[in-house]
């Protein structure tokens, strides 16, 4: 059945190909949207090329260009690992056409391997854009021999494979373990959270290992840090050795281990594939409900509750929208235990900052986590094929979106208040300052909700094959998330700078006014879009 893999892979790729959709779509409006999407991708790739190349120029001018291949391999490995890990449930398991594919004469390992290869091919352009841009920059400054280029190009195809396989295998283990429980989705979500938090902690543990060396020169430290990382993560080391020393043995190691690991992973996954998917698709039904007294509620609350159930029913959704609030709560507890000053020193890597300087930025620090994702940004698209339900009901669209916004407020507000309080207590902020910080936190939650809703309605996408397409890769999510994150980081810096010149309470009060105004404007825009939708 191996020979059937190309057939399945081709169908999978064709089924999500924008070119195919454009070619056969007869709706001009939809064609315009597809073309717009392609232009957006072009700009995204252009930004990546610029960023990757500019990084090389920077390293070249600093005289540490030899570290660039290692950085390139590590960056691609990290990105491919994270992207694959979050996509495993949804692409590899629990996908909607499972019944159709498994009823065809494909072996489970063929289906799993094709699904993985599909993920690989779809994400490869991004990794190649990064790698080839870095190669151009490296070529300019390091002036390597001719063999570097063909080897770099060839091995760029293999660099993401091992981290993707590791991520897929971890995803498989989590899914396999959770499939054995009655509350599968909850167990899967908890295990995913635990793993992600472990990965975050790992960053600090590894950093601690590097810090033990007393390296005085910052540039040498960076170069040695990359060398050490390549020593720990061997495939990055093989890539570096292959392209810098034209080492055939390292090239063969990278290619060989990637291929062997691929076969091995899908041999194991294939053996458990049907059992896991059967468990995931089976729903425990007790069938022993007895009618009890019911409660009537408002429409807005009913929509908010529906959103809550939607979130609890999907591991992907829960992990993506829950990660920020959980991290905020953990951060708050960590700060309360270890002290504001100590945590800040650790996170900012001993930058010349003291706790006092960061006090006015506390609500924005918390918002960095809380505002990572807004349920209002992806919930309109998540209606998907169920959209007819709300469309056919006598609900004003404004009420529907108010309900969706209310749910995001229910989700973020308690965590924002809790974490802000933890930080304020630990940083010994005055009672007035604490109240103002709490109010600013609430205003930020309102802004995140309303802005998320604007993005969600403006870039609604109801036709999707897999919910990951709208949760992780949707235009609405991207347009909500990235400006929000970058502007917030800028605001943290701005608050620190302004905090040196102005009274902290006055500054926070001013920010409350600005953020409230922005939230109100976003809300009005969301309502206007809802009316038109």
């Amino acid at each position: 059945m191996k020979s059937k893999s190309p057939v399945l892979l081709k169908a999978l790729l064709l089924s999500t190909s924008l070119f195919n959709k454009y070619k056969y779509c007869k709706d001009k409006k939809k064609k315009g949207k597809i073309a717009g999407g392609c232009i957006a991708y072009f700009f995204l790739y252009a930004m990546l090329v610029f960023y990757a190349f500019a990084t090389c120029v920077g390293y070249g001018r600093l005289g540490i260009i030899e570290t660039v291949p290692g950085i390139c391999a590590l960056t691609i490995s990290l990105l491919s690992f994270l992207f694959t890990f979050f996509k495993t449930n949804g692409y590899l398991f629990n996908f909607k056409e499972y019944d159709m594919l498994m009823a065809l004469p494909f072996s489970p390992s063929t289906v799993a391997a094709c699904k993985f290869s599909y993920m690989y091919i779809k994400s490869l352009p991004m990794y190649l854009v990064i790698s080839l841009s870095v190669m151009a920059g490296y070529g300019m400054y390091a002036k390597p021999g001719f063999m570097t280029y063909p080897l770099w190009i060839l091995l760029s195809l293999f660099v993401p494979v091992i981290p993707m396989l590791i991520a897929a295998f971890i995803g498989f283990l989590i899914t396999k373990v959770s499939a054995g429980f009655k509350l599968k989705k909850l167990v899967q979500t908890i295990l995913t959270f635990v793993f992600v938090i472990f990965c975050f902690s790992l960053r600090f543990m590894i950093e601690g290992i590097f810090r033990n060396d007393k390296v005085e020169d910052v540039l040498t430290a960076a170069a040695e840090g990359i060398d050490k990382a390549c020593g720990i993560y061997l495939p990055a080391g093989w890539f570096t050795a292959a392209v810098t020393k034209s080492s055939l043995s390292d090239s063969l190691l990278l290619v060989g281990i990637s291929l062997v690991l691929f076969e091995l992973v899908f041999l194991i996954v294939g053996k458990n594939y049907r059992q896991i998917n059967s468990a995931l698709s089976s729903h425990d039904a007790s069938g022993d409900y007895h009618m009890t007294s019911q409660k009537a509620g408002s429409v807005v609350n009913a929509v908010a509750f529906k959103e809550f159930r939607r979130m609890m029913g999907s591991t992907n959704y829960l992990v993506n929208v829950g990660m920020g609030v959980i991290l905020a709560a953990i951060f708050g507890i960590v700060v309360l235990i270890f002290g504001f000053e100590n945590v800040i020193q650790k996170v900012t890597q001993n930058a010349p900052l003291d706790g006092e300087m960061l006090i006015p930025a506390i609500p924005f620090i918390i918002y960095f986590f809380i505002g990572m994702m807004s349920t209002a940004a992806c919930s309109p698209s998540l209606e998907g094929k169920n959209y007819w339900i709300v469309q056919s009901l006598p609900i004003d669209k404004k009420v529907l979106y108010r309900g969706k916004m209310l749910f995001n407020m229910y989700l973020t507000l308690p965590f924002s208040v809790f974490s802000t309080l933890c930080l304020c207590i630990s940083a010994h902020v005055s009672p007035v300052g604490t109240v103002l910080a709490l109010v600013l936190g609430i205003a930020l939650c309102a802004f995140s909700t309303a802005w998320g809703c604007v993005c969600g309605i403006r870039f609604i996408k109801l036709e999707w094959e897999n919910e990951i397409e709208v949760i992780k890769q949707g235009k609405a999510t991207m347009i909500y998330m990235f400006p929000n994150m970058f502007i917030n980081m800028g605001l943290i810096v701005l608050m620190v700078v302004l905090g040196k010149m102005l009274d902290h309470n006055l500054l926070t009060a001013g920010m409350i006014l600005i953020v409230t105004l922005l939230a109100a404007l976003s809300y009005l825009r969301a309502m206007s879009l809802a009316k038109k939708s």
Partner: protein, 243 residues
């Protein structure tokens, strides 16, 4: 030597969900070549659970399911090569055109170019979807999707066709065409095993019927044996209302 094994044999099949909820309990039935076998029961009685196990989609530990003598558990590929399955709500690839999807299925079954073209023409014309095959599946109605799924199921000439609620969403003409195709298939030695809620259809179309209630087969046999002069509706209601 000709294979004389039943085309589908389910022996003591059982499936338990979660904490002991029995979705299928000791299900046993046999479908012979030439049979149009109706599988009827209430919503949630265990029809889809059984059907999904038959077509190798759902994992199971209790009992044995054989298709043309091959075990679904131990030799699933041999079973799938001779089976066609259409779920109650076929999820096809929305961004493929109808013809791209049919070609995908034909490639999977290794059907040659001229043979597939003839099959596509025959069945697409019968279901009157030929003109729409160049459009994206996403633009099709539910019934159109079901017709594409039906054409894709027929092109490899399956020995066993398994259908979950096949008449839901089909227009009257397409429903009639499907019944004709079922008869034609059975005349040629294939068999059809399908679930339905429409008892009139089952009574007129099937030569054998099984009634499932709370995961257990409560009645099974030829239509004559089961009804004994009464209507299938009466037999069904009598069976499912019994405590």
């Amino acid at each position: 030597m000709e294979n004389t094994a039943p085309i589908l044999s389910i022996k003591g099949y059982g499936k338990t969900y979660g904490e002991g909820k029995r979705a299928a309990d000791n299900v046993s039935l046999t479908v012979e070549r030439g049979d149009i076998f109706g599988f009827i029961g209430h919503n949630g009685a265990g029809k889809s659970t059984t059907i999904r196990a038959v077509v190798g989609v759902l994992d199971f530990t209790e009992g044995e399911i054989l298709i043309d003598g091959h075990s679904v558990k131990n030799d699933p590929m041999a079973c799938k090569r001779i089976t066609a399955y259409i779920p109650d709500n076929p999820d096809l690839y929305d961004n493929l055109t109808g013809i791209q999807y049919l070609n995908f299925i034909a490639d999977v079954f290794g059907i040659g170019a001229s043979e597939r073209e003839a099959s596509f023409r025959k069945y697409a014309d019968m279901f009157e979807i030929t003109e729409s095959l160049g459009d994206l599946i996403g633009s099709y109605s539910h019934g159109m999707k079901q017709k594409v799924a039906l054409v894709s199921a027929l092109i490899h000439k399956p020995k066993l066709m398994v259908l979950d609620e096949p008449f839901v969403g089909l227009d009257p003409k397409a429903a009639f065409t499907l019944k004709e195709i079922m008869h034609e298939m059975c005349k040629e030695g294939s068999a059809v095993f399908f679930s339905t809620h429409v008892l009139d259809v089952a009574e007129k179309l099937c030569n054998k019927v099984a009634i499932i209630k709370k995961g257990r087969i409560i009645a099974s046999g030829t239509m004559e044996e089961l009804t004994e002069g009464r209507s299938l509706e009466e037999v069904f209601l009598e069976g499912v209302d019994e405590k």
